[in-house]
């Protein structure tokens, strides 16, 4: 089983929503589409599902061309950001609805709905209507409807975005388990890098209608192929600074910080990408660099401290574990872990491995 987009392109009027895209999703995988709002995640999913036709290109499923085949004939299910259930059906009938339409016999329906409801912890509320449920339960019902069909392709379009923080955390942990033993391809769209990391599987980073990178989630995270991919996959946003390399010494252009590297890179100007959690108030790694700056904003969130500061003409973001209270305007010293630096050349390609 595989889903393949071949040279897919989507234009609406003069506007290009999806630039020419090639993507192959393999059997039994969870694939995260990661990108900001309007990056084209929903459009891409609708094309995958057959709800929308690509302007150019083809969609292949199981080595068969399914471009233009209607969604009803494709055994697909989808879960939306909004909690979409039939308003006048109770939970049981809602979950059973896709089976009833395809004419599965009633004992079989009972059996399958029971199992899925158990899995999603909906058993005690099978007789309730959607408007009597909490948001989390409504979304569980929608998920159950998607799972009960045994679809070949399950599309989840930001399913957790409208949930309260706690419910979101809870459901996010359960999600990967739900799909573990299923014979299907799951596509999960989200704007949150942390979702992708938690869910694992594969990740495709999307930027303005283009897939920047597709691969195993951790590989995409650790080895972004380009500055864009790294930026999409970083929250809080990645720090980017210009550097100069001379011999085996690199230095920030905007400040007097330099370090050694072992690389065959040509001398010249590069960009360095530093994830916020690699700039901390304490030393980490064996090649820690000191950087000083003036505190702009200091925020505490849970057990983490987010410190925005200026150095040279740049604004930097640092993320440290633990509570580190800083005063606004204060001069402070922070430490960068230079082992984790990502280097990009003038075309924004990653050059760490050169």
């Amino acid at each position: 089983m595989s889903l393949e987009l071949r040279n897919v392109e989507k234009k609406i009027g003069q506007e290009t929503h999806i630039y020419e895209t090639n993507l192959k999703l393999e059997k039994n995988t969870i694939n995260v589409l990661l990108g900001s709002t309007l990056a084209g995640k929903t459009t891409l999913m609708q094309i995958m599902a057959g709800l929308d036709k690509p302007t150019n290109g083809e969609i292949w499923f199981n080595e068969k061309n399914v471009t233009g085949v209607k969604v009803q004939k494709r055994n697909v299910s989808m879960v939306y950001q909004q909690f979409i259930n039939y308003p006048n059906f109770n939970v049981y009938d809602n979950i059973a609805s896709p089976l009833k339409i395809t004419g599965v016999d009633s004992n079989e329906i009972k059996n399958r709905v029971g199992k899925v409801a158990e899995l999603l912890k909906l058993s005690p509320m099978l007789n309730k209507r959607p408007n009597e449920l909490s948001g989390g339960q409504q979304q569980r019902t929608a998920l159950a409807r998607a799972l009960v069909k045994d679809s070949d392709l399950i599309l989840l379009d930001e399913p957790l975005a409208n949930l309260d923080f706690k419910l979101r955390e809870e459901l996010r942990e359960e999600l990967p388990k739900l799909f573990e033993d299923r014979d299907c391809i799951v596509v999960y769209a989200t704007t949150e890098p942390s979702d992708a990391l938690l869910i694992g599987g594969y990740t495709a980073t999307l930027l303005e209608g283009k897939i920047v990178q597709h691969g195993k989630t951790l590989e995409v995270y650790n080895k972004p192929n380009s500055l864009q991919s790294a930026q999409v996959f970083s929250d809080p946003p990645m720090n980017i600074a210009k550097i100069k390399k001379e011999g085996n010494v690199c230095s920030l252009i905007s400040d007097d910080v330099s370090w050694k590297i072992n690389s065959k890179l040509k001398d010249g100007e590069y960009k360095v990408g530093i994830r916020p959690h690699n700039i901390t108030t304490y030393k980490e790694g064996s090649n820690s660099l000191e950087i000083s700056g003036k505190v702009l904003i200091s925020e505490l969130s849970g057990s983490e401290s987010l410190i925005h500061f200026t150095n040279g003409d740049l604004n930097w973001v640092s993320l440290s574990n633990g509570i580190h209270q800083k005063n606004v305007g204060e001069q402070t010293k922070l430490f960068m872990n230079s082992d984790e630096f990502l280097y990009f050349d003038e075309t924004n390609k990653l050059v760490n491995n050169v």
Partner: protein, 288 residues
């Protein structure tokens, strides 16, 4: 905590009290006053107790008028609600068609009621009216001023023309508020057009439809101006609905006592039906 006493707030409430007193309570109390007394003018009143109420409730004339009223209201509800929903479903969802349709739909609602009556009166005249003349030319024996069936047909048609738009506009608003994802989800399920209507659109329109039915019930149950101008309640008493009959009694015959009693009974019927209906419709409505 010490509460400071400040009665100034009453100053802000008084204007509303005065307004409501003058436009609702005092007129209503006048009617109540008439309903329990007999008067021959000159400000001389005699106490009659519940006599007028008994007289009205037992009179054939009231029963007939009430029967006509209920029949009329049922007919127009059964036509206007489904027709209104149907038109709303077929209206365009985007483009300039939307504004064109909305303007066209609002038009009948903007015409004063007596003008609607006059328009339809002329439109339906059997000799010179477009509708009346055409029907006769087609071989139908149509004359709304003489045949009660034709009078009913014309009155119902006029009301449908005048008020279906209201149902259309409300239903359309209800339909537009349904998120597109619902339709997509149904499409993925492979649901038929009918189930989409029955299980998504209709439940989602429930609230606006409740309002539409309530408004149309109240308006049609109290209809006066249009049939008054169109048929004057005739031929005979064929289209004399409750309010037309009431005005005949109060101003035509100057039976102020019975007319006042009838007004109160009329008022309570409308109030009770609306209350019962609203509660039934909203009974299973949890917090959305």
């Amino acid at each position: 905590m010490n509460k400071t006493v400040n009665q100034k707030a009453w100053l802000f409430v008084i204007p509303v009290f005065v307004l409501v007193a003058f436009n609702a309570i005092i007129p209503l109390m006048t009617v109540v006053n008439y309903a329990f007394q007999e008067t021959f003018g000159n400000n001389v009143f005699m106490w009659e107790g519940t006599r007028w109420f008994k007289q009205i409730l037992l009179s054939d004339r009231f029963h007939a008028a009430l029967g006509r009223q209920i029949l009329f209201t049922l007919i127009i509800l059964f036509i206007q609600i489904p027709l209104g929903i149907f038109i709303a479903l077929t209206m365009p969802k985007e483009g300039i068609g939307v504004s064109v349709c909305l303007v066209l739909m609002s038009m009948p609602l903007l015409i004063p009621w007596n003008v609607v009556g006059a328009m339809w009166n002329i439109f339906a005249l059997p000799d010179i009216g477009f509708l009346g003349h055409s029907l006769n030319a087609l071989g139908f024996d149509y004359n709304f001023t003489q045949q009660s069936g034709d009078a009913w047909f014309t009155t119902v048609l006029m009301d449908v023309w005048h008020w279906t738009s209201l149902v259309v506009l409300l239903s359309y608003a209800g339909l537009r508020s349904i998120q597109p994802a619902y339709y997509q989800a149904a499409e993925i399920d492979g649901a038929s057009r009918w189930s989409v209507f029955r299980h998504i659109e209709l439940p989602k329109m429930k609230k606006v439809l409740t309002i539409a039915i309530l408004l149309r019930f109240m308006d049609s149950f109290m209809i006066y101006t249009e049939p008054f101008v169109l048929t004057g309640g005739g031929p005979g008493n064929a289209t004399a609905f409750l309010s037309i009959d009431l005005v005949k009694m109060a101003l035509g015959q100057f039976d102020l006592g019975p007319a006042a009693a009838m007004s109160l009974i009329y008022f309570f019927i409308v109030l009770t039906v609306c209350w019962v209906f609203y509660n039934l419709m909203m009974k299973n409505e949890g917090q959305s």
